[in-house]
Symmetry: C2
């Protein structure tokens, strides 16, 4: 949702690096060394630098002048921040999208919910979840808003992957179903209210550390 042009080497690199950061294959705080990446992609380092600028704008990387670029770190405070921004913006989008929602779209959103409930791993659950939100929000026809929401979704997904990398248990998403029911009734206010609460729900889970100690992991699970 954040790749306007998918033709240049720089955009390809930024897309692939964004995916690695989101899925956690590149760990928070790790350095992104431009000539290593350039070598991996068989290019020079100039397009790599352009990719860095885009990742920076998306909040996935932070750059210190003359000291290089690192994968952005995050903490519970930022998880909360992203959840609240998503709540505010997704409610706005839903209010504008609702009048344009067709039953065909809502059916596809329901399929996405089912797919999410049946997911056996985080990755496919996240994909289904993102599809659900995209389907019901895209008809708002507000490109700038959708881009912002897309970036926030990427951040959410990152938090999720960081917490539930391997263990994932099937959950039934009652919120998604409630939202769809309200939308089918034309009850936009209630649908928006559920959505607002839904994306601000922050799941927590004890995670065993490498040293054996356990800590609490947090993530947005909507």
């Amino acid at each position: 949702m954040t790749s306007p042009n998918e033709d240049t080497i720089a955009s390809r690199i930024s897309r692939i690096l964004a995916d690695r950061i989101v899925t956690g294959s590149l760990e928070p705080g790790s350095k992104l060394r431009q000539d290593h990446i350039a070598e991996e992609f068989g290019t020079s380092h100039v397009p790599v630098r352009e990719a860095f600028r885009r990742l920076e704008a998306q909040g996935l990387a932070v750059s210190e002048p003359r000291r290089g670029v690192r994968v952005a770190s995050f903490d519970l405070k930022e998880v909360r921040e992203v959840a609240q921004m998503r709540a505010a913006l997704e409610v706005l989008a839903l209010r504008h999208a609702a009048p344009h929602l067709t039953s065909a779209i809502l059916d596809r959103a329901e399929e996405a919910t089912v797919a999410g409930d049946n997911s056996r791993d985080v990755r496919s659950w996240e994909e289904a979840n993102r599809l659900f939100h995209t389907l019901i929000l895209a008809p708002c026809n507000m490109p700038r808003l959708l881009t912002s929401i897309g970036d926030l979704h990427a951040a959410s997904a990152r938090f999720l992957f960081a917490s539930w990398r391997s263990e994932w248990e099937v959950r039934t998403d009652h919120d998604h179903r409630a939202i769809l029911t309200f939308l089918r009734q034309g009850n936009i206010e209630n649908a928006a209210a559920v959505l607002e609460r839904h994306v601000q729900w922050i799941g927590q889970k004890p995670v065993r550390n490498a040293s054996g100690a356990t800590r609490e992991a947090f993530a947005i699970v909507g």
Copy 2:
């Protein structure tokens, strides 16, 4: 608010170009030719390209691969979109900032309001207005939210400059005063309500075209 690193040539170029786009000295739709800009700043075109990527992420420029970069165009639809996004996000920020607002901050915000009321041109009015919003929102301590709001402010300012380039009449900002009054009373809900309405108020004004015809110009004036 959107310049994390202010040390490299690329960031300097992006800041200056952003200012030109916002003030309208670079017109919407006009091409940004990298070697011309590189020559102007006495550099090569590589840092210019990095600056382009940042402008693109801020929504101030659009890039078509292999066809160059243009100053982003806008229309009434986007003015509305930005106004509504600002309303949603600034209300969120205010709710978190309010508990940390001191009377010293509110006094400075009042000074900014007075400065705005006394402004004789758009530029100084915009500066005072931005200061007001920044002062009452910054204590929310949510960096990602503040960055987004900053980008939206830049867009708003651009709409404003496009409409009221030369003619500007002094106006007294009753909304700002009402917000401050409510904040001093600790009445956060009313302050947020006024702010929400305030930034969504879209001013309109007949503007004489070059050919003599008049058209309506629109802008966010909060």
